[in-house]
């Protein structure tokens, strides 16, 4: 028994960290958020060269054949530098959907393209996790109609995987006739979330209509677990920056880190975050190895990380004083990424309700 990274995972972690730290500096983030597409070809090429775009795609479909924990190692690093990269939708959620419900033809058609970095996929599942504005997509006679809101990584996508109801998955090509895409501006411009309005748009079923509830759940679980990993990285970086700044900034003729009140603020953040690391590992492990616990862990890791990250976003800003509230430090990109991750695929309250139903504590 060994609860932690394998040697290979440690190497993966190191190489992805080296890449994000050297190739995705804050100045680059500043430029990219102005574009707001949640995508940058150079970053994408870099990830492709590292061979991680196909991280959870089996080797027979051109992927790296690694595990889900490897995927969350990468997602955590992307969160750490608030990278605009559609990794969550394209490399984690889409392959999960295709592997769970797709035919061999579909796997052969899409997975190698994803692994090669040629195909980017947006995921529309919000109507399963919480319907707003009467959103919802229906599938009939090979066509889909309705609207899908908060499509993850949708702005730069070449195709979309949408849930039509709770148990049908479909593929829709970007630019298909009858499809209208609208960017939904959120606080977090490192990710491109969109709305799709569909009017009799040609769609390809993934799996069979009405019997893919388990696959839909699997995709949501994967997304939530990866969002938790992203939150872990984002929060970790904020905490580090709080500590770095506190050791440098002087007031009252001493570094502010020497004030016990401020130390306690930092120590509280660190103490709250530290156990999250192991929780993310376990939740990731479950996605692949322990099917019975996968959904519960996905719910809890997503909501717990959200609860821990929100005060970290606030307190790190506070530790920077007026400087934290400005754009100068760029801290707010992390703050806002935490804000979006917290709500995507369900706010903490609603996700915990699912956990209660799942455990039979309350009726659905």
């Amino acid at each position: 028994m060994e609860f932690g990274y394998s040697e290979e995972q440690k190497m993966l972690d190191e190489s992805i960290r080296r890449f994000v730290n050297s190739e995705i500096p804050l100045d680059r983030i500043r430029e990219l958020v102005l574009e707001g597409t949640g995508f940058d070809q150079t970053i994408w090429n870099g990830l492709s060269e590292l061979g991680v775009l196909g991280v959870i795609i089996p080797e027979e479909f051109g992927g790296a054949g690694m595990g889900f924990l490897d995927a969350t190692i990468i997602q955590e690093s992307l969160g750490y530098v608030v990278a605009p990269a559609p990794f969550l939708g394209t490399c984690i959620m889409a392959p999960t959907a295709i592997l769970a419900a797709g035919s061999d033809d579909q796997k052969n058609k899409w997975l190698p393209e994803i692994a090669a970095g040629n195909l980017k996929v947006g995921l529309g599942l919000s109507e399963v996790t919480g319907v707003r504005e009467n959103a919802g997509v229906t599938f009939e006679g090979g066509k889909v109609s309705g609207k899908a809101m908060f499509v993850i990584d949708g702005e730069c996508a070449d195709g979309y995987i949408l849930a039509a109801g709770k148990s049908t998955l479909v593929w829709v090509a970007a630019g298909a006739a009858g499809l209208t895409k609208t960017k939904l501006n959120t606080v977090d411009n490192t990710r491109g979330v969109v709305e799709l309005v569909l009017d009799g748009v040609e769609a390809e079923l993934i799996g069979s209509a009405g019997s893919e509830a388990a696959a839909v759940q699997k995709v949501i679980d994967a997304g939530r677990t990866a969002l938790a990993a992203d939150l872990l990285g984002t929060s970790q970086r904020m905490l580090e920056r709080a500590v770095e700044y506190a050791k440098e900034r002087k007031q009252f003729n001493r570094v502010i880190a020497s004030f016990q009140g401020l130390k306690h603020t930092c120590a509280t953040m660190a103490a709250d975050l530290e156990p999250c690391r192991a929780m993310v590992w376990y939740a990731a492990h479950c996605q692949q190895e322990i099917a019975d616990e996968a959904t519960l862990l996905a719910c809890q890791v997503k909501s717990h990380l959200s609860e821990v990250s929100t005060p970290i976003a606030n307190d790190t800003t506070l530790v920077h004083g007026g400087m934290g509230f400005t754009d100068l430090m760029g801290l707010h990109f992390w703050f806002k990424r935490i804000g979006l991750s917290r709500q995507l695929l369900g706010s903490p309250e609603s996700v915990r309700e699912e956990a209660a139903v799942l455990q039979g504590w309350i009726a659905a």
Binding site: G130, R132, I256, G261, G322, F325, D327, G339, Q343
Partner: protein, 399 residues
């Protein structure tokens, strides 16, 4: 405790309601706050002062309504205006901080000159306190002024100065007595922002707006009578102002107005076809917040009574900024969580709710948790001044 609402108060409530019914449509939107008052804001403010709904207890000769302090009437005004979602008039650092400071410490001439145009929104003020090296440790400020030909000559830099880019005037702290101990060498001056030698550089905040600035002073000349209190007494004046700032930043009337807006939101919005108010989870969060708001409202009634009776007990005032600013942010946080994915929409996005105010306010409230003495500093003040605990010892230097 005497809180009997006699018939006089029932009549008063009717009067306020009638006013809101007749004039409420002229109220500016709350989202406009923080900008320079326009003609709509000013007209509304004028009307409120005439009726005694704003500047109630400020003497008439200084442009106020000149009413008697009346706890219950203030409460009625708050309740009715908040309930109807109607603006209670202009805010800002001039009205909330400078006016009470002048009333307390200004000369009669200063009161006559500055209070009325400030109340009417004709003069907008910025607060020039913080410097790059003097934030929490404000008393270590280094911007200097020396006297030359009957004028103060100011040199130095301020930072985080809210509204300086459109303000007409600034109240500023400068070091005039360099040889005195740090708290005794500061003076409090009033100066027009168009005085030669002032350079203003806006700073963009996390919300994406440029609401505050760096302000540079090079040989900026201010007549020596533009000082409040005496030379070297600026720290004392500033503390009088800060007291009002901290009261303003944690003002429960703002919490109550935000809370009302969340109630409306949760009544209107639904997820999965379920009205948010019907969700026991969000409802319970709302009710907890309501409890916190109520505690602060009654605390402020106690404060008002203390003010009127000259009671100077410290604790109820020391907690206002700390508790109020966090409470306000938590209220905005509930609105965002309840809206869920809709709650993260920003800018001019489709489906944006309340013009995006929940995200903007959520961040802005964090700014207020920092501004005007951070939460850490508030806790230091509460423990040291409120609870009589000793100051943190200086760190031991390594030999």
């Amino acid at each position: 405790m005497d809180l009997s609402y006699g018939t006089e108060y029932d009549d008063y409530r009717d009067e306020v309601r009638a006013f809101i019914k007749e004039h409420g449509h002229k109220s500016p939107a709350s989202s406009k706050q923080g900008n320079k008052p326009d003609t709509e804001d000013k007209a509304w403010q004028k009307l409120l002062i005439e009726r005694g709904y704003a500047a109630r207890i400020i003497p008439k000769e200084y442009g106020g309504y000149g009413g008697e302090a009346d706890l219950l009437k203030s409460v009625i005004i708050d309740e009715e205006f908040d309930g109807a979602g109607v603006s209670k008039g202009l805010g800002g650092q001039g009205i909330s901080m400078l006016v009470p400071t002048l009333l307390e410490l200004g000369t009669d001439e200063q009161k006559k000159k500055w209070i009325k145009p400030t109340l009417m929104g004709d003069i907008f003020w910025a607060q020039g306190y913080s410097e790059p090296g003097a934030g929490s440790d404000l008393a270590s400020l280094q911007t200097k002024a020396h006297v030359e030909d009957g004028k103060f000559v100011i040199n130095g830099q301020k930072i985080w100065t809210s509204s300086a880019h459109f303000a007409d005037m600034m109240f500023i702290l400068v070091r005039t007595e360099p040889d005195a101990p740090k708290h005794k060498g500061i003076s409090y001056l009033l100066l027009p922002m168009d005085t030669p030698g002032i350079e203003i550089k806006p700073l963009v905040t996390m919300t994406g707006e440029a609401t505050f600035n760096e302000v540079f002073f090079e040989d900026v000349k201010v007549p020596t009578d533009q000082i409040v209190a005496k030379r070297g007494e600026g720290w004392m004046v500033a503390n009088a102002t800060l007291k009002h700032e901290r009261g303003m930043l944690g003002d429960p009337r703002q919490s109550s107005s935000l809370l009302h807006q969340v109630v409306a939101l949760m009544n209107e919005e639904s997820v999965n076809g379920v009205r948010l108010m019907d969700s026991p989870l969000f409802r319970d969060r709302l009710l907890k917040l309501q409890g916190r708001v109520m505690a602060m409202q009654y605390n402020s009634m106690r404060l008002l009574t203390n003010d009127l009776s000259g009671n100077t007990e410290l604790m109820p005032i020391l907690v206002v900024k700390l508790i109020g600013t966090h409470l306000n942010q938590d209220i905005c946080g509930l609105a965002i969580d309840a809206l869920g994915e809709l709650g993260v929409l920003y800018d001019d996005s489709k489906y944006l709710r309340n013009s995006g105010m929940w995200q903007t306010r959520y961040m802005f409230m964090l700014g207020l948790i920092i501004g005007g003495g951070t939460s850490h500093i508030q806790k230091n003040i509460i423990s040291e001044h409120g609870l009589g605990m000793p100051r943190e010892p200086k760190p031991q230097l390594k030999a």
